[in-house]
Symmetry: C2
Subunit: 197 residues, 2 copies
DNA sequence: GACGAAATTGGACAGTCGTCCTAAATGTTG
DNA sequence: CAACATTTAGGACGACTGTCCAATTTCGTC
C-alpha cells in the first residue's frame, strides 16, 4: 500500500510545480490530478479545499528555502559569499525564471491581488530571505544599513526576475548580476560603511 | 442615444481597472458588466471574445503611456529630469502599487505564465518604457551603456513595485528612490561614462 | 408618427470549476 | 480467511465561466 502521506506529498509536489508554472488560480484540481495520476475525487481525502493545498505548498516552499539558506550558512565561507549565493540564484534558475518568473514574487503578487487568506503566509517566504540577507549584511558590518541593503538585494532579484521573464534576455541577467556584485564589493570595502548613497 | 463607441470606451476603462486590481483571468464578464452597469449579453455586440477586450485594454494602456512619455518629453527640462519623472512614478502611484503592484509588470507576468496570445503585445508596454529610457540615457551621453542603464532603471522599478506590494512599506520605496537618484547623479557626472561597475 | 438601423436585454448553451458523497478497492490485523 | 480501517475511484451537485442568439428597446431619419 502507498501510505497516505506519500500520496499527499506527491500532490503537494505537483501542486507546487503547477502553481509556479501556471499560477494558483489557473491551476485546477484536474491539472494536479492528471500530474499525480489519481482521481479528482481522491483530493477530498487529503485536502478539504484548494486553499488547503495552497497552504501545504507554501509550507513546503518555506521549508525548502529554510534548508537552502541553512546549506549556504554551512558551506559558504563568510557573509559576502553567502550573499553571492543568493544573487546567483537568478543565474542558476535562469531557465525557469525566464519561463515563469520568480516563484516567490509571482505567488506573492497573485495572492495580494485577490487578497487571499494565505497572502500573509506566502509573504513569509519573502520575509525569510529578507531577514537572512539582513543577518548577512550585519555580519558584514553594515550596522543600521543592513536592513536597507537586504531589501535592496531582495528587490533587485525581483526586478531582474520580472524583466528576465518579459524579455528572456540572458545577457541582461548576467550584466545585472555583475553589477550588483560590484555594488556588493563596495559594501565590503569598509566596516560600518553606508551603501553608496 | 449613447453611441456604441462610448459604451465601448466604458467597457475598456472598467476592464482596465479590473484587470489591474484583480488580474485578467480573475476578472469575469459579470465583473465588468457590474462596473459598467450593462447586461452581460451586451458584450458580444462590442467584443467577440474576452481576449478582444484584453487587446483593447493593452492598446489603451500603450496609448496612455505614450501620452505620458510625450508629456514628460515636453515639460521636463533635460534627459535627467525626465528619467527622474519615471523614477518618481513609484511614489506618485504609491497607493495603487502597494495594493496591486505595477500594472505593466503584473500583467506581463500573468500573460507570460499562461503563454497568452496577447503576451507579446503586453510586453510592448515594457519595451516602450525601455526604449524611451534608453533614449534619455543616450541623450545624457551614456553611449553604449544607455541600453544597460535603461534596463537597470526599468528592472529597479519592477523590483520596488513587487516589494512595495508585498511589504507595503512606504519608507522602503522612498529609500530606494533616493538611492537610484544618487546612482543617476553618478551617471551624469561625466559624459560617455560607464555606470558604476 | 412610422420606419429601419443601432444598441441593449435576458437567457440559453456547453463546459469547467471546487466541493462532496457513496461505493469499491486495497492494505492491515486478528 | 475474516473483519477491519485506510485509501481510492467515479460521479453528482450547484455555481460560475465565456460564448452566442433571439427578442426587445432605443435612436436617428424620413
Amino acid at each position: 500500500m502507498v501510505a497516505a502521506v506519500e500520496t499527499r506529498r506527491q500532490i503537494v509536489d505537483a501542486a507546487d510545480s503547477l502553481f509556479y508554472a501556471q499560477g494558483f488560480a489557473q491551476t485546477s484540481f484536474a491539472d494536479i490530478a492528471a500530474a499525480v495520476k489519481i482521481s479528482r475525487g481522491n483530493f477530498y481525502y487529503h485536502f478539504k479545499t484548494k486553499d488547503e493545498i495552497l497552504e501545504a505548498v507554501i509550507d513546503k516552499r518555506l521549508s525548502d528555502r529554510r534548508k537552502l539558506l541553512a546549506k549556504w550558512d554551512e558551506t559558504a565561507d563568510g557573509a559576502k559569499k553567502r550573499i553571492e549565493c543568493f544573487i546567483r540564484i537568478v543565474i542558476v534558475n535562469q531557465a525557469k525564471i525566464m519561463a515563469y518568473g520568480c516563484p516567490v514574487g509571482t505567488l506573492t503578487t497573485e495572492l495580494a491581488k485577490v487578497d487571499h487568506p494565505s497572502r500573509e503566509r506566502a509573504n513569509e517566504i519573502m520575509v525569510l530571505f529578507g531577514d537572512w540577507l539582513e543577518r548577512q549584511f550585519r555580519e558584514l558590518g553594515c550596522g543600521e544599513s543592513s536592513r536597507d541593503n537586504a531589501l535592496h538585494v531582495l528587490g533587485w532579484s525581483q526586478g531582474v526576475a520580472t524583466l528576465a521573464q518579459a524579455f528572456k534576455d540572458k545577457a541582461y541577467v548576467e550584466r545585472e548580476v555583475s553589477k550588483i556584485l560590484t555594488w556588493l564589493d563596495g559594501i565590503t570595502a569598509g566596516p560600518e560603511q553606508k551603501h553608496s548613497q
